[in-house]
């Protein structure tokens, strides 16, 4: 089976400094690697979770896939065909959709829900017998009453606005859905609602999904594969259940251990990770996680690790991947003791 989406060695550079700086400065400004060597593939119907802290390049990756940010190097292929030109991206965007992070901000405040839902078809020049019927069908699909057609975005609650976001993303019957933090700002009792809806529609319509998030508790229930990012590079990919059961990269392990546990009997008393994510403008040498890694070895400071295969369907970027859970737990315990707690 050909993958729906294939990304190979994708890199994105941003030049530092604003336009004024660029006009005043005759020399080319130094550019900075935002994404580096990202290789990823997504099968039809599959869901992949893209996880990392803020500043890890998750959103940039999603935007690059849709051609909203220009790649400096690398290859993107959609349904077996390379996506190179602006026209290719436009054709691809017709069969893919994005759900943006802030649902209310992504809906124009001056348009009614009915117009918002049929705008994609108008832009793509698809024939529509009756705009209102199309909008009503879409509303019914996401479980909203037909009367919403005449409402304005500010009249919706956060959860309802998300549903409209889902309806609009699915209006073009996409083969790929990119969802940027689909549950940010939602209550736990509503977040399940939105994810169940996306899951149901996915089973019914068969699209593939890429969910960008930092919510580990949620992503473990809704994704088949996980891709963990750190400073614009993938550090680990693999089937979700396997990654949670036995993370190989120390960063993945730290993320999982940092998540607060909703059980007062399981309070963790040592800290999983200290320090903050470094800036992409000052990338650490060697392995980029060495500044925070509890298992750091001298080699990690000098030599960047390769992104290599580990097991049948997992990849990891680490010189010394974790083999067992105990090894990681002991190291974390030792590291926090050494800190003098």
């Amino acid at each position: 089976m050909t993958p729906l989406l294939e990304i190979e060695d994708l890199s994105v550079n941003f030049a530092r400094g604003g336009m004024i700086n660029r006009l005043l400065n005759p020399l080319p400004l130094p550019s900075f690697n935002i994404l580096d060597g990202v290789t990823l593939s997504l099968m039809p119907g599959q869901t992949i979770g893209l996880v990392g802290e803020s500043g890890s390049g998750k959103t940039t990756l999603a935007r690059t896939i849709l051609g909203l940010v220009r790649a400096a190097a690398g290859r993107i292929a959609f349904e077996g065909k390379d996506v190179l030109t602006g026209a290719d991206f436009r054709a691809m965007r017709r069969r893919s959709a994005m759900m943006f992070q802030d649902p209310i901000a992504s809906l124009s405040p001056r348009l009614r829900i009915g117009s918002l839902l049929t705008e994609p078809q108008l832009i793509q020049g698809l024939p529509m017998a009756d705009r209102r019927t199309v909008a009503k069908t879409l509303l019914a699909q996401v479980g909203l009453p037909a009367s919403f057609i005449d409402r304005f975005p500010h009249e919706l609650s956060g959860g309802q606005a998300r549903r409209v976001g889902v309806a609009r993303a699915l209006a073009m019957k996409p083969h790929l859905l990119l969802a940027d933090e689909p549950t940010a700002g939602l209550d736990v009792s509503v977040q399940g609602d939105v994810l169940n809806l996306v899951g149901e529609l996915q089973r019914e319509l068969g699209f593939a999904a890429m969910i960008v998030t930092h919510n580990l508790a949620m992503i473990r229930h809704v994704s088949d594969r996980l891709a963990i990012m750190y400073l614009g590079r993938l550090v680990e990919t693999g089937p979700t259940q396997e990654v949670f059961a036995a993370p190989m990269h120390p960063y993945t392990a730290t993320l999982i251990r940092s998540e607060p546990v909703p059980d007062p009997r399981q309070r963790s008393h040592h800290l999983a990770v200290t320090g903050e994510i470094p800036s992409v403008f000052r990338r650490p040498s060697g392995c980029e996680f060495h500044t925070r890694c509890p298992l750091v070895q001298p080699r990690c400071r000098l030599e960047p690790p390769a992104y290599r295969r580990a097991g049948t369907n997992r990849m990891v970027r680490c010189h010394y991947p974790l083999e067992t859970c105990d090894q990681e737990k002991e190291a974390f315990a030792r590291a926090s003791e050494n800190k003098g707690n």
């Binding site: 736990v188 009792s189 977040q191 229930h221 607060p260 546990v261 059980d263 009997r265 309070r267 999983a272």
Partner: protein, 321 residues
């Protein structure tokens, strides 16, 4: 008791052109020095109104009934001047977004000096020395340099640490942390939780943590109040709330948290229905319209406060003490 806080039968309503919004109704909470109290609930449950009432920051259209006693003083009937003296001296607030807590055009150091305005016994140099010590205490390395930084030069986690330092510099008897980790990444969140936990060992006032995140509450608090649509529906020791919850809302809320299920779920649990309209709250139990096990009186009789143990209470017709 000295330094204790007790709100009894506290109600707050906002007068709006569309009618009165009954944002808080008959809330009873208490907290003692040395305790970490958790307030948990979803959006619209009234936790922010409760916090602003405790910090005396309610807007002008708010009408307040009942009493808030702090250290034996009734805050509700206090005159504006004395209330202002209390706020920022005895009561400190750490807000969700530390960026808005600081003035963007002043350095962190200058602002932290101003926060100590009530310490008339210290001169500027002494105040600066206290700041440096406090910043180091909350885990900011290179404190001297950070004091000369502006808020935008600090990362989110660093700003939240500085905000906690600012609150502690006033030696408050009541420290309210309103969603202290919501704006942060999970690794920073773990660090702030760790910091708050360390601080409580040295600090002997009340810490009140307000959050919608059950994990944060479970990690930090001794006692928890669960709020729904402006009412406290259940309160008790943290272990009782997470392992022996009795109110149907508490149970449903706990059941919704995906972090509680290690295995993949096909469908995530949810709470069907929506919040009641608080301009016209229902006559009976506030949760009746969404409750799975309603009884005859639920729709028209206000449920009693049932005492389940010395510290565990639930507001429900369906529980027996």
């Amino acid at each position: 008791m000295t330094g204790s806080l007790a709100a009894s039968d506290l109600s707050v309503r906002y007068e709006t052109p569309h009618g009165n919004v009954h944002a808080l109704r008959h809330v009873d909470i208490e907290a003692h020095p040395g305790e970490v109290i958790g307030i948990v609930g979803e959006s619209g449950c009234g936790k922010s109104t409760l916090v602003t009432a405790l910090a005396n920051l309610l807007p002008a259209n708010a009408r307040i009934e009942g009493s808030i006693a702090y250290d034996g003083v009734d805050l509700v009937n206090l005159d504006a001047h004395r209330r202002r003296l209390l706020r920022g001296d005895e009561i400190a607030l750490v807000s969700q977004d530390p960026m808005t807590a600081f003035n963007p055009v002043l350095t962190i150091g200058d602002q932290l000096v101003d926060f100590q305005h009530h310490r008339k016994d210290l001169d500027r140099a002494q105040k600066k020395a206290r700041i440096a010590a406090m910043l180091t205490r909350v885990g900011i390395s290179d404190a001297e340099r950070r004091m000369r930084s502006y808020p935008h030069e600090l990362s989110g986690g660093m700003r939240q640490r500085a905000a906690i330092a600012a609150a502690l510099l006033t030696d408050p008897g009541l420290l309210i942390a309103d969603e202290p980790t919501t704006a942060l990444d999970v690794t920073m969140e773990a660090q702030i939780i760790h910091l708050l936990r360390e601080l409580r060992r040295e600090y002997n006032g009340i810490i009140m943590v307000v959050s919608h995140h059950l994990g944060v509450i479970a990690e930090l608090c001794d006692r928890v109040y669960v709020m729904y649509a402006g009412e406290v529906v259940e309160g008790g020791e943290v272990d009782a709330i997470f392992h022996d919850a009795r109110h149907p809302y508490t149970r449903a809320l706990l059941a919704c948290d995906p972090a509680r299920f290690p295995e993949r779920l096909e469908r995530l649990p949810t709470i069907p229905g929506t919040l009641p309209n608080l301009t016209d709250p229902p006559a009976g139990c506030i949760y009746a319209s969404r409750c799975e096990r309603t009884l005859a009186p639920c729709h028209n009789v206000v449920p009693p406060r049932v005492k389940l143990s010395a510290s565990h209470i639930a507001r429900c017709h369906g529980v027996r003490g």
